[in-house]
């Protein structure tokens, strides 16, 4: 914490050339994350970035912290090991829609369920970037790609719904080009004790350019997104004149005055789940911001608490005693 005042964004830049395609949304995210790190007050050597494989997963190389570029889909499993081994580290996972939800979907589900105190940034570009443009589990149905020349038959995942279904304690969404918003969301994620799942809409200029233009493009953003700010009314639109309320389970557009006040900390994640379903409705604004943020014991703390408790009741384990446990006899 002592270093807080002294660190700036550029302290987090590593000496490696950044190698994404010019114009890739990943640059904006890197920039924002480096800025957020400078604000956290965590010294560089206590930070560890962990990733799988994909364009997005090259991220750790560009951060001047500890970093582990692992294998495809398994970053969350590695992060579970790292955080459990040393709960004092601030562990961040960077993953893609393919890495985190296709091959890595199960580890994602389980880290969320366990509530390991790890922050997860899922760069969703709705495509496999690194392997040059195949559809991903978040690509919309009918999407034509190299492996779906007649359009993809798959129905996509909604990452937020998926995370909620797994019992996630913190779920949020933000947009590569919306730096202020991203910063707020990342700060909230960092403040959350437990697994924080942040979906980031990220533009892949090469293989899926403009995938989020209808919602994320600056001129339409305010009309086509609604920001879920805990404690604030669900108001949106350039003029802040529109709102969202729920009628018989369906979110509907209403006037700002009628808008419901957002709560991310209800006992039931039902409300967050209903909000997530707005994704399927092109006529509704896309929710961004914080879907859910509730307190729950973390996995890593639980592990170490048991070790403490075992030592308190049984004493620190002695190898001598362990060897001699069970029934012994002596040959003289």
């Amino acid at each position: 914490m002592a270093q807080q005042a002294t660190l700036s964004k550029k302290d987090f830049k590593s000496d490696q050339d950044v190698r994404w395609c010019p114009g890739c949304g990943d640059y904006a995210i890197l920039n924002c994350v480096q800025g957020v790190m400078a604000q956290l007050g965590v010294p560089r050597h206590q930070l560890c970035f962990v990733s799988g494989i994909g364009c997005s997963s090259r991220f750790p190389y560009y951060m001047n912290t500890y970093g582990f570029h692992t294998i495809h889909g398994r970053a969350t499993a590695f992060a579970t090991g790292i955080k459990s081994a040393n709960p004092e580290l601030s562990v961040w996972v960077v993953t893609g829609d393919g890495d985190g939800l296709s091959i890595g979907g199960n580890h994602m589900a389980h880290i969320l369920r366990r509530n390991v105190d790890v922050k997860i940034l899922l760069f969703n570009n709705e495509i496999y970037g690194l392997t040059k443009g195949q559809y991903s589990p978040t690509s919309p149905q009918g999407k034509k790609t190299k492996t779906s020349p007649m359009g993809s038959v798959d129905r996509p995942f909604d990452p937020v719904s998926f995370a909620l279904g797994c019992g996630a304690t913190f779920v949020a969404r933000t947009i590569d080009t919306h730096q202020k918003h991203m910063e707020q969301v990342l700060l909230a994620a960092a403040a959350h004790k437990g697994t924080a799942f942040v979906e980031i809409y990220q533009n892949c200029v090469i293989f899926n350019d403009g995938a989020f233009d209808t919602i994320a493009e600056k001129t339409v953003r305010e009309d086509h997104t609604v920001d879920l700010r805990p404690g604030q009314p669900l108001v949106f639109g350039k003029e802040h004149d529109k709102g969202i309320r729920i009628e018989s389970w369906e979110p509907r557009v209403c006037t700002a005055a009628q808008a419901e006040t957002w709560r991310a900390d209800l006992a039931s994640p039902g409300a967050a789940f209903v909000m997530a379903q707005m994704d399927a409705h092109p006529e509704l604004p896309r929710p961004i911001g914080i879907f859910r943020d509730v307190a729950a014991p973390t996995f890593d703390a639980g592990l170490h608490e048991q070790i403490q408790r075992a030592r308190a009741t049984r004493g620190s384990g002695s190898l001598e005693k362990l060897l001699h446990s069970g029934e012994t006899w002596t040959v003289a």
């Binding site: 490696q16 560890c48 190389y61 970093g67 582990f68 199960n106 012994t328 006899w329």
Partner: protein, 617 residues
């Protein structure tokens, strides 16, 4: 049983008893008690429990039979014996499943109280083996144990169900009488075990006493037998240990010797689960156990923990090993310590999950994409699993490498007396973490005299660095697509692993240092091979044996040893995997394979026969 003359109490060198009954009959407890009493007397021992297949089958059926074989001896022994001398069969299913193993002329004790029409039907028997002649050639002892126990416990006020659960102690008492053993060890154990239900302790004591007395009174047997203490046992404190337990304790010890916190990432699988279960109980040693969602997450979390400064460990069996393959490659690439334990079982695929086999050797040595060398070792007995686990930790930490330790179902569930090591015998191999920034900057892929790279723990100021699976530049560890660097790194990794042989001894030959035939083994064939060779040597046959603990790299000096023998016989519970490795490493020597792939260990007698045949040719 090499019988002698004495009339009353006949001495034997070594006896094998198998207790067999229904899963609910308590045969494992009976066997363990007999074992423990014999240990205290000072016999050498080997045991093998034979659990039924995974799911509990209906009572009285053949798949529901549970067995426990114990061999106790006045001389050094290495296996639980090929054939029981005595079979205790608590019901028809237990009889029919086990009788074919009994040596001819052996004693079979049958509980006739469990031989009704219905019992026979459950065991899928058309006729009663007690009367249809199928027990010809054995000495059959029919006792209605149900009835005897009921009588012995009349008046205890226990329910008849509770009474019947004491049957196994009746048989134990009977065996104690027959082999002239004291009851006190078991009496003490009963008091402890049933401290909260003294009436049950009492009941079991009564049953045991009844069985003991029955031996005395009823003259079931011609006489009693005696197996004297084994005088060649090394001095020291002993305990009986199963292989999985020994592995678990060895891993804790290995981590302590390295000065590291052990982190086990594992996913349950037969027959490896026991290690996870044991380590989950050692929290006071700082052991972190993570029951992962699958084997992939298990090894990845373990490797992550190693990156973070723990000693990462993962335990599994064949199908799980397959799933860990990709992450092993990353462990090789990032050069982090990691101990991978594979308790082999019958394969391929799900195979014979409760049976033993040694068919994952080639997978362990060669089964990864790319040039991904990993040291491989194998435990040879339950107690040896402790030493091997420590050794695996040593290699992993000293060489910054994943290590594969092979065990198998036979070792995992088998037990033997283990002379506990003195703490001073265990040599520490402390992990040396990089702590400060060296002059000129930190180079995560520099190397020490063993070619091991430095280990820098996240949380250490100034050593921030990134590692990963894309080829790394020598020294700096930065991403490198440079062709020459790739070749250099591949060769360095291979050399490092080969260099492990500088730290291991040449194994010692059992028997003459040269001759016609060397029997070369690895893993759990140790007991059978040693017994066979010792037996033959006693008969004057000139045959020697050599057992390998390190399978990759192979220890130095083998070439010279092989050169002193005309040929080398390699018995394996697979279709010839080590023999294949040896042929490719030492093409100048002649290796004869000898395979058994039956989910069952070799019998000493099979090996004796095989060796004789070869030598006679």
């Amino acid at each position: 049983m090499s019988q002698t003359q004495e009339p009353d109490v006949q001495p034997f060198e070594s006896v094998v008893i198998r207790f067999a009954g229904d899963s609910g009959d308590g045969m494992q407890i009976t066997g363990n008690q007999f074992t423990h009493t014999s240990a205290v007397i000072g016999n050498d021992l080997a045991t093998f429990p034979d659990y039924p297949a995974e799911i509990r089958a209906p009572a009285g059926t053949r798949p529901g039979v549970s067995g426990f074989q114990v061999r106790f001896s006045s001389s050094d022994i290495h296996t639980p014996g090929d054939q029981p001398d005595v079979l205790v069969a608590m019901n028809p299913a237990a009889l029919v499943v086990n009788i074919k193993d009994l040596r001819s002329g052996g004693i079979v004790v049958v509980n006739t109280g469990q031989f009704s029409e219905g019992d026979l039907r459950k065991a899928n028997l058309a006729t009663n083996p007690l009367v249809d002649g199928s027990l010809k050639g054995y000495r059959v002892l029919e006792i209605d144990i149900n009835q005897r126990v009921t009588e012995a416990l009349a008046g205890t006020g226990l329910t008849s169900k509770e009474v019947q659960r004491c049957k196994n102690f009746y048989t134990l008492g009977l065996m104690y009488w027959l082999y002239n053993r004291p009851l006190d060890t078991t009496l003490r154990w009963l008091d402890e075990k049933f401290a909260k239900r003294p009436e049950l302790a009492e009941a079991n004591k009564l049953a045991m006493q009844a069985g003991y007395n029955a031996g005395d009174i009823h003259e079931f047997f011609q006489g009693r037998y005696e197996v004297a203490p084994c005088t060649t046992l090394q001095k020291g404190t002993y305990r009986n240990i199963m292989g999985n337990e020994a592995t678990a304790i060895g891993l804790v010890a290995g981590a302590q010797l390295a000065g590291l916190q052990p982190f086990l990432g594992s996913y349950p699988i037969t027959p490896a689960s026991g290690i996870l279960e044991a380590l989950a109980g050692y929290k006071e040693f700082g052991v972190i156990t993570f029951q992962a969602e699958d084997e992939i997450a298990a090894i990845c979390a373990a490797l992550g923990s190693s990156y973070a400064g723990c000693l990462g460990i993962t335990t599994t069996s064949g199908p799980g090993m397959a799933l860990k393959t990709e992450a092993m490659g990353l462990a090789v690439a990032t050069e982090l310590p990691l101990v991978i334990v594979n308790v082999q079982r019958g394969g391929p695929s799900t195979g014979l999950p409760t049976k033993t086999e040694q068919a994952d050797l080639l997978q362990a040595i060669f089964g990864r994409n790319g040039e991904a060398p990993i040291p491989v070792l194998a435990a040879s007995t339950p107690a040896d699993a402790f030493d091997c686990a420590v050794e695996a930790c040593r290699i992993a930490v000293q060489y910054m490498t994943p290590v594969i330790l092979l065990s198998d179902g036979y070792i995992a569930n088998g037990a033997e007396p283990w002379r506990l090591p003195e703490l001073a015998e265990l040599r520490p191999f402390p992990a040396r973490f990089q702590q400060v920034v060296p002059e000129g900057g930190f180079l995560p892929f520099a190397r020490d005299e063993r070619l091991a790279r430095p280990w820098a723990r996240p949380g250490t100021p100034g050593l921030e660095h990134r590692i990963g699976g894309i080829e790394r530049a020598n020294l700096t560890g930065h991403l490198s697509y440079d062709p020459e660097n790739h070749e250099l790194m591949c060769k360095l990794r291979a050399q490092k692993v080969l260099g492990v042989r500088d730290s291991i001894p040449t194994p010692a030959v059992l028997g003459d240092e040269q001759g016609e035939l060397l029997v070369l083994g690895w893993g759990s064939t140790y007991g059978a091979i040693t017994s066979a060779v010792e037996e033959l040597r006693k008969d004057g046959v000139r045959v020697s044996a050599l057992h390998l603990r390190h399978l990759w790299p192979l220890p130095k000096g083998l070439d010279a040893i092989f050169a002193r023998f005309r040929s080398v016989l390699v018995p394996e519970m697979n279709l010839g995997q080590l023999a294949r490795v040896l042929r490719s490493e030492y093409p100048q020597h002649d290796f004869l394979g000898y395979s058994k792939v039956q989910g069952q260990p070799f019998r000493t007698s099979e090996l004796v026969r095989k060796i004789r045949t070869i030598l006679e040719q």
